[in-house]
């Protein structure tokens, strides 16, 4: 009669082979397992609570002021998730664009 530990080891080895086969299959074919229940629930939640990543005009204006710009009241939203503004810095008029997600500031012609 086989020792129980030996039997367990053989079972374990079999499981490992199965996992390795599944791993290989997943990697090669890109097949997806069912979506985890908690992630399914999270997707439902996110559908009803979309996250507005973008900063508002208020925050963008303060940001421009932190960069040393004046006359920041001219902010206008664009279709590309940015604000554009005619601002002043060091007595010089400039047109700038500010990314509403990254806050990156770009000069415009």
């Amino acid at each position: 009669m086989r020792h129980p530990l030996t039997t367990a080891c053989h079972c374990f080895a079999g499981c490992c082979v199965a996992v390795l086969c599944a791993t290989g299959a997943w990697a090669q074919q890109g097949e997806r397992a069912p979506l985890r229940a908690d992630l399914q629930a999270a997707a439902e939640h996110l559908m009803h609570h979309p996250h507005p990543y973008a900063m508002t005009e208020e925050v963008a204006r303060v940001r421009l002021e932190k960069f040393g710009f004046e006359r920041t009241q001219s902010l206008q939203p664009t279709a590309h998730n940015t604000f554009q503004a005619e601002v002043m810095k060091n007595g010089e008029a400039r047109r700038v664009e500010i990314d509403r997600i990254t806050g990156e500031l770009r000069p415009l012609q």
């Binding site: 890109g30 997707a43 939640h45 900063m55």
Partner: protein, 558 residues
């Protein structure tokens, strides 16, 4: 009979190692402790999993970059941010960064899973974790219950999932990471009192939980992009990071008027309170105003200026949780935070701000000190009678007042014109109360007078977000210990604290001057608690720590 050790073969060793690994993994409660486990002190362990698509170009950063961004201290990264806003109570140093892993899907295939509004949006998150788990060269599965941030290159989406983790782009900045860590700690978004979009979500740019609509520090050229602001005072209070002596509850001492000094929330070295709670609702002791001062520097360097903020913390009935609502002057240009309040029996005014000292001086008048606990009302036996009684007894007093003349002897008597008819006596609810009542009513009035103090001033019972359920009290192993324990356990801890060197080895030892005598171990009620106790005492402390969240009166907050 057990086999001799040397006879265990290689296969058995693999089996044994796997079993041990599984047991160890299930015995690691710290891994998930920060997930909805307030009050929380100690480092937070996340897993950061980096993934590319099958057609991605080379990622812009290596894993070492993300370790500096998230894990390592002294980099001005996320771990430093968390240490700063928690006053040293937490950081992210146990977090691991794994990757880059390559998913067997193209960027287009993953993008096709959709963004906001798509029921398959979170599949993108699972695809990365599956790629890590199935990796041939470095398979990785995060420990059960641990929060996991997935970072993809290129970035295609950004979202957070409370209690699970987040999905981030490879160029995520400090703001995005800090916000998601906030969710991981259990915080939900912050709101304002905007009447246009009722109680507008993300409309508190002074609080990280409104990101990306926040006053982040632009930090041009900073390695990790934008950073800050910190969390609002209520969020910090929730985690138990504010020492009790730095929390002021207006009215708790019975004083109607208080003038006090607030230290800037981001300058704990300044003397003063870090938060003032101003309760006003006897029906809900978690419904109150908070007042905090924020200095525009450090991680708050992006704020438009230093300012006092007043929030209302109240129940969001639809969500079933409490949220913070920044009170803004919605009628003024720019909708600035209100700088004075006169509502619900509360008056708050700012007397002065001392920028150099990082302090603000405020005045609070709170009528709640004269109000009754829930279930009681003023007796009003006279217009100024504010003894708290049941509504039925107030009605009784009003009825007795209405019958006062009819119960008086029109002919007067030994007690003058106020002499009562036979069977009636003076009520004596207050001095010179000569309303005639039946003797039982006078006895009741005397009893109510006796109980008056215990029914008065609900502010006495306001203890904030970490209030314990009935039967438990804060352990108070130190000023920031809000773990709820039995009264007996608190007494034991107080006794141990009374002589912390009692079981320490006076000669020191391998653990320095805090080395315990043989047979004793550090109590470890919080990181750095080196009071020496016997091992069963440490076991008790650990058990209480593990029950801390379950013993809160309001555990499902945020």
């Amino acid at each position: 009979m057990l086999r001799p050790f040397r006879q265990v073969g290689p296969t058995q060793w693999i089996w044994l190692c796997c079993a041990i690994a599984i047991v160890i993994a299930t015995m690691a409660p710290d891994q998930a402790q920060a997930n909805n486990a307030r009050p929380y002190r100690g480092p937070v362990a996340w897993s950061i999993v980096l993934c590319t698509f099958s057609d991605s170009p080379a990622p812009p950063h290596d894993p070492a970059y993300y370790r500096d961004l998230i894990v390592n201290r002294g980099t001005s990264g996320l771990s430093d941010f968390l240490a700063a806003v928690s006053y040293g109570n937490s950081d992210l140093t146990p977090t691991v960064v794994k990757g880059w892993y390559t998913m067997p899907f193209t960027r287009a295939q993953e993008e096709a899973l959709g963004g906001g509004g798509s029921p398959t949006r979170t599949r993108k998150y699972q695809d990365c974790l599956d790629a890590a788990a199935h990796s041939a060269h470095d398979p990785y599965t995060p420990p059960p219950g641990q929060l996991v941030a997935v970072v993809t290159s290129p970035g295609i989406d950004l979202f957070g999932m409370i209690g699970i983790g987040s999905y981030l782009p490879d160029n995520v900045d400090m703001v995005g990471m800090s916000h998601e860590v906030g969710h991981g700690l259990g915080f939900s978004h912050s709101f304002s009192n905007n009447p246009v979009a009722a109680n507008e979500e993300y409309d508190d740019p002074w609080d990280m939980m409104s990101a990306y609509n926040v006053f982040a520090d632009p930090r041009p050229g900073a390695r990790f992009g934008n950073a800050g602001p910190g969390f609002n005072a209520h969020h910090v209070d929730e985690m138990g990071w504010l020492p009790r002596p730095r929390i002021f509850t207006a009215g708790a001492d019975g004083q109607l008027t208080n003038s006090l000094t607030l230290a800037a929330l981001n300058h704990p070295e300044a003397p003063g309170f870090l938060i003032a709670r101003v309760p006003f609702d006897p029906a809900d002791l978690f419904h109150y105003y908070t007042v905090e001062f924020r200095k525009a520097d450090g991680f708050d360097g992006g704020l438009p200026g230093s300012t006092v903020l007043i929030h209302e913390t109240k129940l969001d009935a639809a969500a079933g949780v409490y949220h913070t609502y920044l009170l803004r002057d919605n009628g003024a240009p720019g909708r600035p935070p209100i700088q004075a309040l006169n509502d619900n029996g509360v008056t708050i005014s700012i007397e002065s701000v001392n920028q150099a000292a990082n302090q603000a001086h405020i005045k609070i008048v709170n009528q709640i000190v004269d109000r009754c606990l829930q279930g009681f009302v003023w007796r009003e036996a006279s217009p100024s009678d504010h003894v708290c009684v049941t509504p039925a007894l107030r009605a009784q007093a009003a009825a007795d007042n209405a019958l006062a003349a009819a119960r008086r002897n029109p002919a007067g008597g030994p007690f003058g014109p106020d002499t009562c008819l036979q069977g009636f006596v003076w009520r004596e609810a207050f001095p010179n109360d000569h309303v005639c009542v039946v003797p039982a009513t006078r006895t009741q009035a005397a009893a109510d007078n006796q109980a008056a103090a215990s029914r008065h001033n609900p502010a006495r019972n306001v203890f904030g977000p970490n209030t314990c359920v009935v039967g438990f009290v804060w352990r108070e192993a130190d000023a920031s210990d809000f773990v709820c324990v039995t009264g007996a356990e608190r007494s034991t801890v107080a006794g141990e604290n009374a002589n912390p060197a009692l079981h320490r080895n006076p000669a020191g030892g391998p653990f320095g001057p805090d080395t315990c005598l043989t047979g004793f171990v550090w109590r470890d009620s919080f990181p750095g608690d080196h009071v020496c106790v016997v091992p069963p005492r440490r076991d008790q402390v650990r058990a209480d720590n593990n029950q801390a969240h379950a013993r809160l009166m309001r555990p499902n907050d945020e």
